[in-house]
Each structure stands twice: as C-alpha cells, then as structure tokens.
Symmetry: C2
Subunit: 280 residues, 2 copies
C-alpha cells in the first residue's frame, strides 16, 4: 500500500462513469440527511453513477435488524421508493429464489446500511461474499451506504456498530483496499471519557500499521473507478499510522489502492457481466 | 431472566462488603474523570470494596493496544500509582510466569479498560476465561472499568469499541447475566445520522429479547454482591426489549440476575479461594 499521499490530480467529470474503469463503486457515508430526507442528498450522484436505465438493480437489505422477512420487506420498500426516479427496478435479494444467481444477473448491486455485523453475518450465511466480489471486480456497479460501504472494505474493523451478532470472520468483500469509517465526526461530547472516533481509528492502525482509513463525513461519498477514488461532498479525513491525519476535500482527487491487485482471486466465480472483465 | 423491574429495596451499607455474598464485583463505567484524574472518583468505593489490605491484587492490562510489553508495562504503572493508597500491592498478569496460577493466587482481580475486543482476544489466548470465572464465583473480588466491566457480562455485544481484532467468540466471562454498556450517554451530536447509543442497544435487544442492558453513565459503578446489584454514582438506564427504557438512580437498589445459577459450571477449576465457595 502506498505510504505517501499522492499529489492531487484532475478528477474525471463529476458523476460521470469512466467506461472500462473497473471496479465501479459509489460508497456513501450515510442515507438519511439531517433534514430527514432519505438518499436525496446523493440522488444526482446515484443517477449519474448508474447511467442509462437498465432493469434489475439488486438490493441487499441484510443490515436490517432483526433480519425477519418483515424487516427486509419494509427496508426494501423504503429504498425502492428512493430509487423510483432513477429508472431502475429495484428487487431485493431476500425475494429471490436463488440469491447467488440474483447477484450474477444484477445490472447493479445496492447494499444498504444498518448493523454492519448483522449484514456481514447474513452475507456469509447466504454464501454471497465471493460472488459479489467476483461480479463487482468484473464490472457490476456497486452502491453502498454506511454498513454497505464498510463491507466493501477488506474488513469491518472500522465500523461504529455494536457487535450484536458474530459473523464467522471480520473479513469482508475487499473491493477496495482501504478501510472506511462511515458517519465520521470529530464531535465529542464535552467531558465524555469514551474514546473519540479518531482515537478508535488510531487503535485500529496500531494493530494494522499498513492500513489506510478514510473517515467519511456525513453528506460525503467516494466514487471508485478502477484505481482512482474521488470524493464528493462535505469531506473526509485520511488516517495512516505513520503520518498525521489529514483532511480530504472535494477539490483533490486521491489515489488509494483498490483491489485490482487481487483480481485473480475472483476467477472461479462466473458472473454474467464477466465479458467486461479485464482479468483472465 | 426476570422481565419486570423489582421494587426498590434497602441497599446494604454504602461500600461495605457483605460477608458470604458471592460473587463480589465492582464494575465501573470509566476510569478517567472529566477533570483528567484517574480512578480518583471511585477511590472510596474501591477501598471499601477491597477491605483490609492484603497482598497481591492481580491487574490484567490486556485491553491496552497494541498489546506489546511496553504498552502493558505503561498501563500497569499508571494503575499501580492509582492503587497506591489502597494498601494493596498490584502486580500484573503480564509479569507472571504462569498467568493461570497468578489468577488463582490473587486476593483480588482488576481488569482495566481499553479496547474490549483486544482484551477478550487476549483472555482467550492466555486461556484465562474459565479460571477467572471460577475464582470470582468462589469469592475472589473483581474490579473492572469500561472494557473490564463489559467482559464481566455474558458477551461483549454491548461494547462501544471498534472490532480491531476478532476474538474467537463474543462470549465473555458471564459473571453477571445482564449486559453493561459503559460510558453510556444520551448525547447525540445535532444532525448526526449515526445511531444513538439507545438505538444501538435496542438493535441488540431485537436479537436478544430476553436480555437486560444496563447503560452505565460515566461516574457510576455497580456493586454486585451475590444476587444484589447496587448502583452508585450519577446513574444508569435499564433497557429491556418488552418495556420502555428507565432511569436507574442511586436511591434504588435493583435485583438483576447474576450468574449464581451457573455456579456448577465452574467446578472443574481449582482456585485457592475455593474454600469460600458455596458450590460443591
């Protein structure tokens, strides 16, 4: 992983997809805005990311607790409404007879927030980690927010959530090689003696000194296109073990290592979009 | 686990140990106070809990990240200074040739805060869970704060910490049958879209509807004596799935189920204090 911050470089056209650049991910910090609206703040970015309407965006509602059919139905309905004007039909993996095939057939994948441990445990239980990784690495666009952004990382070790259930491992999708801390904030209640968010991230880096953590503020998202990661919105903060934390603003593109070095791992998993894959 | 709140009952004399009542635990929400002093706020309670000076209080510094000898040395020195005026010598388990024997020989156990996942992973790695449980259930007094209070619970599922390392299981010491959320706060930064602490606890209860969670505010501690749990300090909040959250103040004693029903599990582990055990 590169230790030094790369110099800023020209960003691609805002919201535009870069043909041929894979993987393509849109990783949002949050869904709800301070005014209560749901996914509205990122609607323009989502529409631009998905491009011309195609059928069958697959939603994965596994972060919803307690993981009942009712909970997944309600969550799907909320997100379906929010996606109404993108021109995509949104179907949920919990409605599919064959979840693995549903991932393979999807024009895009959408993983919502909730509890990150619950989400990852369900992905393991459904046997979906490898097929999602394979499809995204071969070109299926991926949208996540909050827990859905954290599971795109190598592990869920930088989640803010309570470990209400134990997944078999903290290892996640590994679609990018950096870690995201969603809902990142510097705010710390006066007098509160619990660790600050930055202190918690620093603890992680003491155990994983080669890692990079992106603290992603609310109202921010990352657009990953191949090896380039572009930030849009209110901003973020980059944490590495060997250097002081630094602000990351919309003006500066930053190169972070995505998962391209690991593409060969995905070879065993057939995906309907694999004709667009660059790897053999 | 009892669903209804028991009526308040007379508390035992403040800080007094109740002879014969086991287990005996002092579970603090935090170590540092808002004014920066370390363990000072609870010094009177700690001294009263430990009673007449005896040698060999055993400190367990495993919550310190990154878990190096230097980190454990520094943590031990800080706590040793804080315990100076209790009349107890504090030795650390990381200095012991045989950690299991050190637990067995201890006049009291002290587990400090830090990262709860790191603490639990180290307890598993050192093979200390069963012997600690056995000794506390047979009468060894236990003092914990923050992560050290959370590991006394059935699981660490109500920690606020980041999962920077994966212990083999979330199952912890089970010295009490309720869960503690340390550093409990109702404060939520305005506009912040991450879950409130109460929402996180509610998520846990949706998966574990029979559980009781005590949100323990900073400057508060629980004194467990047998089956009675007494709160001292600024207060707490009790969360159960089937009823609204309720404040718990110092004026009211509350009966919560401790682990007395499970004493027979500990029978296989010899402990030097076992002559005081009530179980056969």
């Amino acid at each position: 992983m590169p230790k030094g911050r790369r110099p800023p470089r020209a960003s691609p056209r805002r919201g535009a997809r870069v043909p041929g650049e894979i993987p393509q991910l849109l990783l949002l910090s949050n869904s709800r805005a301070a005014d209560g609206t749901y996914l509205t703040w990122a609607r323009g970015e989502i529409k631009a990311f998905l491009g011309a309407p195609r059928s069958s965006v697959l939603f994965i509602p596994y972060a919803a607790v307690p993981g009942t059919r009712d909970a997944f139905d309600a969550y799907t309905q909320r997100v379906r409404t929010a996606f109404d004007d993108t021109g995509y039909d949104l179907v949920s993996v919990h409605e599919a007879a064959d979840p693995v095939q549903a991932v393979r057939a999807a024009a895009a994948l959408v993983i919502g927030g909730g509890n990150t441990f619950h989400l990852l445990a369900r992905l393991y239980a459904a046997g979906l980690l490898e097929v999602i990784t394979a499809c995204v690495r071969s070109g299926t666009p991926y949208i996540g927010w909050s827990a859905g952004s954290v599971v795109a990382c190598p592990t869920i070790s930088t989640t803010n959530d309570m470990p209400i259930i134990a997944p078999p491992s903290l290892r996640a999708l590994g679609l990018v090689q950096f870690q995201i801390n969603a809902h990142y904030t510097d705010v710390h209640p006066p007098g509160h003696q619990g660790e600050t968010r930055a202190e918690r991230i620093a603890e992680f880096l003491r155990l994983q000194p080669a890692a990079t953590v992106v603290g992603l503020r609310e109202g921010s998202l990352l657009h990953v296109a191949g090896s380039e990661v572009r930030l849009w919105g209110t901003g973020g903060r980059i944490f590495r073990a060997a250097e002081p934390a630094a602000d990351w603003t919309q003006r500066a593109g930053v190169r972070l290592q995505t998962a391209s070095g690991q593409l060969s791992e995905a070879g065993a998993h057939n995906c309907e979009r694999s004709s667009k894959a660059r790897f053999s």
